[in-house]
Amino acid sequence: MAVIRDVMPAFDLFQPSSIADAQKLLQQQGSDGWVLAGGMDSFDWLKDRIKKPKVVVDLSGIAELKGIRSTAEGIEIGAMTTLTEVVEHPLIKEKFKLLADAAELVASPQIRNQGTIGGNVSQDARCWYYRAGWPCYRAGGNICYADTPEGRNREHAILYADRCVAVNPSDTAPALIALDAKFVIRGPKGERAIDAEDYFIGPDIDITSLHVLRPGDLLTAIRIPSTWAGAQFYFEKVRDRNVWDFPLLNVASAMVVSNGGIERIRIAVNGAAARPLRLRVVEDAVRGKPANAATGESAGKLAVQGAVPLQFNAYKIPLMRNLVKRAIGGVAEATWTS
C-alpha cells in the first residue's frame, strides 16, 4: 500500500487533565471515541485511514496517570508512564528487573521515550492483512487472509487460533504476567483490578479485540505485588531486526529456586497466540524439580503441546520449546535442539 503522507483526516481532539474528565468523555463518545496514549500504535491506524475515529481523547495531560509509586503491596505504575521511565526506574531495576529487561527491548529509543506501558499492553495486532485494512475476521469481516495456502503467515499464531491467526505483539505483557501484576481499569461502573493474564483475550472470546477494555473503560495503572521481587528472572525476545521489531516470540519467567529445586515459578510467552500465554502446565510440571537443562527440555516439550503450525511459521514450535528450555535451564546449560 502506498504510504499516505498528507495530514491525518480531521478528528475532534480532547485533552482532559483528570481521569474523571477522560472517563466522562469516553462514556459520552462510546465507540466514536479513540483513546490516545503515546500514540505509537494509534497514528499508524489514523495515518493509513484504516481507523477513522471522530473523537480522539489524548491522555498525555493527565498527571495522575503518570509515574511509578511504591505501595504497601509492591509498586504501582501509572498507565501513561513511558517505557523509558519503566526501564530506568531504580525500584523496577532493583526488584522487578524482568519488566525493565522486557521494556528495554521494545522498538527504538525514541519510541520508548513516547510509548507508554499502558499502550504497550493494549496495542493492537500486527497482522499486515489486518493493519492494511483488509476486511478480515478481526476487522469485522468473515475471512482470514493469513491462514490460506499462499497467505504470508510467518509471524502468526501456533496456538489457540480461532479463525483469526494474529498474535499479541507486546513485550511487557508476558513479563507482567510472570510478575503476577494486576491491571486497574476504571469503567462506567467504577474501578476494578484484574489479573494480568485476564486482561488479554483470544478470538474465542472477542475476535475484534486483544484485551478486555470496552468503550468507556480506561486502563489507569498496573500494580506489581512484592511476591516475586528479586526472584530469578529470564526474558528473551527473538526478532528479525534488533531495533523496532516486534517479537517473533518472547519468553518471560520468574523463578524462586531453593536447595537446587524450583520452589515456585511463573512463566509466559508471547507471539505464539492472540494473547500472551501463561504456561500453567509447565509451572505445575517443573515445581520441585532441579532448575537444569533436563527439566527445561521436558518443560519445552510440554509448552508446545497442541501447537499447530501454519504454512510458514513451523519454526516457531522449536523456537518456543527452546525459549522455555532456556528460561528454566539457563542459557549456558540449555543447548539448542532443533
Binding site: V7, S18, D32, G39, V56, D58, T84, Q110, I111, V243
Partner: protein, 209 residues
C-alpha cells in the same frame, strides 16, 4: 454523536473568538491558555478546525494555526518554515524527523503539535549558537566527514545531542544503542558513529573550556 447543532454553535463561537483574538492582537498569547483550560464537557474545545497556538521552538515563542490532527513535523516544516527536520517514513520507523522535546528525543512525525504547548522543542536549526558557531556535535560531523547524502543527518544529530545529555561519555556501542532509532539509507553507520563519537568528545572539551 447526536449533538450536531451544539457542535455547529461551538464551531462558530470558536471562529469568532479566534477572529476576535487576532483583531485584538495583544491577547494572542493567552488564547491557547483559554482553550487548554476548557477541558470541561460541552465547552469550546470541540471541532476539527485550526486554532492558534504559541509553541516554544528553539528558544523562541512561535505562533501558528495548528490543526488538531497536525503532527509536530508538519507544523515545523509547513507552518514555521523549519525544514531542517526531515520527513522520511512519517510512520516512526526511520528517525529522520527526530527533535528534542524538553531535551528528550522524539519522532516529530508521531507527536501531535497540540501536545507540546507547554514544552520546549529543539530542532536542528536551534543547535548552532545565534552567532553561527556550530554545536560541538555538528562540528564533529565536519571533522569526520560523517555522512554521505545526509538526509538523515538532522535526525541523527538530534538523537545524539539528546542521548549525550544522559550519557556524555559513552562507549562506541553505547552510542550505537542510543542512536539505534535512526536509519541511514546510505548504510554509512560506521562513519556516522565516528562523527558522533567525535561530537561527544567535542562536547566534553567545550564543557571543560
Amino acid at each position: 454523536m447526536g449533538n450536531t447543532g451544539d457542535k455547529e454553535q461551538n464551531k462558530l463561537s470558536r471562529r469568532d473568538l479566534i477572529k476576535g483574538v487576532i483583531a485584538g492582537g495583544a491577547a494572542v498569547s493567552s488564547a491557547s491558555y483559554l482553550f487548554r483550560a476548557s477541558t470541561l464537557l460541552g465547552q469550546a474545545t470541540r471541532g476539527a478546525g485550526e486554532r492558534l497556538l504559541t509553541i516554544n521552538v528553539n528558544g523562541q515563542l512561535r505562533r501558528a494555526d495548528v490543526m488538531r490532527q497536525e503532527t509536530l513535523a508538519w507544523t515545523l516544516r509547513h507552518k514555521l518554515g523549519l525544514t531542517g527536520t526531515k520527513l522520511g517514513c512519517d510512520r516512526a520507523e526511520c528517525g529522520s524527523c527526530t527533535v528534542l522535546i524538553d531535551d528528550v528525543p522524539y519522532y516529530a512525525c508521531s507527536v501531535l503539535t497540540h501536545t507540546v504547548r507547554e514544552r520546549k522543542v529543539l530542532t536542528v536549526e536551534g543547535l548552532a549558537s545565534p552567532e553561527g558557531k556550530l554545536h560541538p556535535v555538528q562540528q564533529g560531523v565536519i571533522d569526520e566527514q560523517g555522512f554521505q547524502c545526509a538526509f538523515c543527518m538532522p535526525g541523527f544529530l538530534m538523537a545524539s545531542v539528546g542521548f549525550l545529555k544522559t550519557n556524555p561519555n559513552p562507549t562506541r556501542s553505547e552510542l550505537a544503542q542510543g542512536l539505534s532509532g535512526n536509519l541511514c539509507r546510505c548504510q554509512d553507520y560506521d562513519k556516522i558513529l565516528t562523527a558522533m563519537m567525535r561530537g561527544a568528545a567535542n562536547m566534553r572539551e567545550a564543557s571543560r573550556a
